[in-house]
Symmetry: C2
Subunit: 446 residues, 2 copies
């Protein structure tokens, strides 16, 4: 059987490797349009922060290992341009200009996502960069180095924008952040978002909310980010306003797209064509809280979906239950985490949400070195279910969110979560874990 | 209604406070035999580590606050000696030598636990100490200070022994640890236990396994801990071989005792007499994995049980589902955590357990500062259920265990746990959380 994979990062290489482990006789071909495979994309901000490290340190497994040790026909620099579902072939052109065509029995589309670049004047100027692929990271790192960048304007204020903000400050680069929306971190309650905003400002980053970038101009070896009442001079611009799924190839092949134009897949990761699977940032997923489709492109899901595809094409029955929307990021000295729904999201899906916002401590009463942990927790008054949690603090946030994530997978009620036996020792938290304190408070409203 | 509480620490004061919040008209009396109430007992090792801090820093709420602000009739120095269930009274003697008797409508026994002191020659010598009550902590701290203690022998190697070992080394006191059993941390696989043992030894603590203490002798202002082939000279001995439930009062009143002589309670915390409740370290609990009774005396359960008693006597219906046996402790630079069952425990309860022991990392591939996280995970081949997990590492262990604890409350299978959407960012772990890597490996054996 011929298994062809389009895209050689998290989902694609996970699938290819596992398929070969499942069935060493399988004929596995991976077509990757760039020259990079199997790298830790999420590690790029931390790599860029350190001028001494090569971007290639992020490569988890080298292409030749896949080829020689795992017997995978891995072709880099191979851009797939079309899928012929009737004849079960994929075709394209290599970086060397050669056309290629491969027959498949089972196909996996793992084309990932791309940064959204607005169709606005000046976004195509040299020095206006975005960060998604390893090559993006390589270019940004080289640009900073060779142009002696002293100032960056970041457009957008999401995870990547905030992580890169820390990266750039670590390299003593001045940073301004700008976005059109009025609210900083709109998925958090103001009290929590303000803690993050303050931390960013404390690190001498200027935050400009409610500023729509109208154009970027280049003159005198500087870039100028122009808003209606603001002009920011800079050496480099980082565009970090979000990503979109790379689903055009799938759409042209007639496959169904779903939410936010991601490729629609069932729990077995099959697209609307049963011989074509899709996995990773280009696909949607079921949300375990709502039961509905969601598009939340994150690394763990990509890896897991890659594995599930490999199992399914090898005759095992692998169904993924879905995502809880669990995410964490670090920004300067803060850990910021979330899982499940916000109040706004819960309303959209027909819940009748209530929330609490509480403060707790990262260590026990009277234990030295404790800091504040802010917890926001959302529950449903109709069913009593726990719907989501957001947290901010200097320590003890990143892994604490996982207890709530597991609760969401089990559709636990707030009342039942209140009963969970969580670990306690003075260096690690109060007797009542901060998520339990939040749940105890929330229970009073349900 | 008269609500009388015997014991004024975690369970007792939680119950008294919440009962008054539930019903301000309630007549609440707390009888505490020592002069201390409402303190963070678990914080004692960390307080003793710092000669500058007073042991009273650990008091969470002062006695006068309970009396004046919460209108609780809190009587310290009141030792209850008997319960008359027919006449519904408790009687005893105060530290001033006065006898007292109180009528109750509802009674709570929250008498806690006591350190086990073997009936062996010399264990009653001055300088042979144990740590459970705040007064124990006060005495140990004073003894170290006033006797210029340079060397301590700790008998026992459990949580408190190990925490105190760190405490004493922080004060530059030499430490020997001794116990009769052959295995260090018997509830962990050897691979994990060895990591902890090595850490303790690295901090210049001598560990003597397989040494039964035959007697302690005092001569020339020194203590001598004598085993058959070993004699350890020391300034102080800490006896930390475990605790036992303070259930004698309950037993004399004819109440049923359960596992390990703890007071048997139902999910509403009622003893075999429906007007008498018990909570905290003196009582048993249902284990959420086995469904059977267990005696795992820990702080969170005590607080939670205190609240549940208050709710039940105030006419709410509060049932506690049980404990998962979740615990964490810090020893030098290591975090050590567990939840659920070990292989040995699982066998005793009729499971057919299999386990994996894996190594993972505390941060992502190529992220600086990563250290090893060791995970042991136990599952049941009959039902596929996840039964327990133990972890050791320098960071990222303490809160990570909670995700598994919540899974145990939901009786999740290993397969379902493998699907949970846990948080990922490079500073906080690999894409696959260490507990997921363990579960993925374990799934192959189930």
């Amino acid at each position: 059987m011929k298994f062809v994979v389009i895209g050689g990062d998290a989902a694609g290489m996970s699938a290819a490797s596992r398929a070969k482990r499942n069935n060493p006789d399988l004929d596995v071909t991976v077509l990757e349009k760039t020259m990079d495979v199997s790298y830790s994309a999420c590690g790029m901000p931390y790599n860029i922060a350190d001028p001494e490290r090569k971007i290639e340190d992020l490569v988890v497994r080298q292409a030749h290992v896949f080829r020689e040790k795992q017997d995978i026909n891995l072709l880099t620099g191979h851009c797939v341009e079309s899928i012929d579902t009737a004849n079960m072939t994929v075709s394209g052109t290599s970086l060397h200009g050669n056309t290629f065509k491969f027959l498949y029995d089972k196909l996996l589309i793992a084309t990932g996502g791309s940064p959204i670049i607005p169709d606005v004047e000046g976004f195509d100027l040299p020095g206006v960069m975005a960060l998604k692929s390893l090559d993006d990271g390589r270019k940004i790192k080289a640009y900073i180095q060779f142009n002696n960048v002293k100032k960056v304007v970041i457009i957008g204020m999401g995870y990547i924008a905030l992580e890169m903000c820390e990266t750039l400050r670590a390299r003593s680069i001045d940073v301004d952040m700008v976005k059109p929306r009025t609210v900083f971190l709109p998925w958090m309650e103001k009290e929590l978002a303000d803690v993050v905003k303050k931390e960013v400002e404390l690190n001498n980053v200027n935050i400009y909310l409610e500023h729509q970038v109208e154009k970027i101009e280049g003159r005198d070896r500087k870039l100028h980010v122009i808003c209606s009442d603001l002009s920011l001079e800079t050496d480099m611009v980082l565009v970090a306003i979000g990503i979109k799924p790379n689903s055009e190839l799938a759409a042209r092949a007639g496959l169904d797209l779903g939410i936010k134009n991601a490729i629609a897949v069932n729990k077995k990761l099959q697209t609307s064509n049963k011989n074509i699977y899709a996995a990773g940032d280009c696909t949607d997923a079921y949300h375990v809280v709502t039961g509905e489709k969601a598009w939340i492109p994150l690394a763990l899901r990509a890896n897991r979906a890659g594995w599930a595809v490999a199992d399914n094409i090898c005759g095992k029955d692998a169904k993924l239950s879905g995502v809880a929307g669990t995410a964490v990021f670090k920004v300067f000295d803060l850990e910021v985490a979330r899982t499940g729904l916000t109040v706004g999201e819960a309303k959209k899906f027909g819940f009748e949400p209530v929330k609490v916002v509480i403060k707790s401590r990262s260590r026990a009463h009277a234990h030295p070195g404790a800091s504040t942990i802010h917890v926001q927790m959302v529950g449903d008054t109709k069913t009593g279910r726990l719907l989501g949690t957001q947290m901010v603090g200097k320590e003890g946030v990143a892994h604490r969110i996982n207890a709530v994530a597991v609760a969401l997978h089990n559709q636990m009620t707030v009342k039942d979560y209140c009963q969970t036996d969580l670990a306690y020792a003075p260096p690690f938290g109060p007797t009542w874990d901060p998520t339990l304190t939040a749940a105890n408070q929330l229970l009073k409203k349900i």
